[in-house]
């Protein structure tokens, strides 16, 4: 027996309304494949690429960070959903979303803060981002932070490239990095 859709939806909405969730998420369609988007009451917590990800493992990881009350609740992430749709349609160049960076090391938070300032359609190198984060020698550490970016696309790690201008790497796959940069009109 499956739960009637309407009953299921009403429970999920009631859970959001009652403020009982540690994190809510939805899986949304995008030109780069399905994205799992999770948020807490503080802001956006995760964006996970579908490729190679195990949904159960992603939920467990979210539960470890935010608490076990993790529920799929599209209503709770609809603002992020709308802004991402607009971004992928080329109609949005900056996100107006709070982010929840709990659990990250202070250095990562500083780096991601600087990353958020790299504008649409522009790139910066790992070394430049390290300098902006106050530690010019930390290019490799910045690379690690990019690799583990919990909120890709919104925190635009795809805009960070090697010193030679090569794309170097992207946790979601280099083709996705290239696709995002082309969307933003960067000539590669």
């Amino acid at each position: 027996m499956t739960i009637p859709t309407d009953l299921d939806r009403r429970f999920r909405e009631a859970a959001v309304r009652a403020g009982l969730l540690d994190a809510a998420y939805d899986v949304i369609e995008s030109p780069i494949g399905p994205l799992l988007v999770a948020a807490t009451d503080r802001g956006l917590l995760r964006i996970s690429f579908n490729r190679g990800y195990d949904p159960e493992a992603t939920l467990e990881e979210i539960a470890r960070v935010a608490g076990p009350r993790v529920l799929r609740a599209p209503r709770a992430v609809e603002a992020a959903h709308r802004e991402l749709d607009e971004y992928f349609a080329g109609r949005r160049h900056a996100f107006d979303l709070a982010v929840d960076l709990r659990g990250l090391a202070p250095f990562s938070v500083v780096v991601l803060g600087q990353l958020a300032k790299v504008p649409y359609g522009h790139t910066a190198t790992y070394g430049e981002l390290a300098t902006r984060a106050g530690n010019p020698k930390a290019a490799r550490a910045v690379g690690m932070v990019m690799n583990r970016n919990p909120i890709p696309v919104v925190l635009p790690c795809h805009r960070i490239v090697g010193a030679s201008g090569s794309l170097v790497g992207y946790a979601g796959g280099l083709d996705i990095k290239e696709q995002l940069l082309r969307l933003e009109g960067v000539t590669l």
Binding site: M1, T2, I3, L7, D8, R10, F11, A14, A15, A18, L20, L21, D22, E56, L59, E60, I62, A63, G67, P68, R69, V70, L71, R72
Partner: protein
Amino acid sequence: MPSVCQSLHMAGDDEASWRLTDATSRAFHGMMGAMAAAIPPFESFYATHAAEVLRLLRRRLGRERAEDAFQETFLRALRAYGRLQHGEHLRAWVLTIAGNVAIDIARRSGREVLTDVPPELAHYDSVAVEEQLSDLTDGLPPKERAAVVLRYGFDLTYEEIASALDSSSDAARQAASSGVRRLRRASERSTR
């Protein structure tokens, strides 16, 4: 942090030093805690138990009233979920909540539940101890019975029991102890 084995190995022959140090003890209990069933993300818990909860509520309340009860059951579970200590016996826990929600809703609407013998603890798990305990507690009032079985059969904390029964942990403790007293009196009567 040194592993438990490593610390035990380093402790040497002196018997006293074989006792776990505080830090090692914490590591050990942490490890045991990790081995006990972890609490799954609520989504997984819900996906696993929603259908069975709805079946139980439909049996008890009929199709229409089961819908309100379904939402109430999982909201109660959600309220308590962050306080769970481990992920053991979640099925027994959520079915107990559902059973109590069914009783509350039946009372509120002034109608009887469709089947009596709430909560149906005997069907929760096939573990022998819990079944015996369940048989033993057959004659107890529903809340006392649930408290006794959850406490002594499933080893839940009073706080967890309180969340299942939608009452305070003091009330859960009282229900369990008055259930035990009642059982003791019954067994004294039967042996006399």
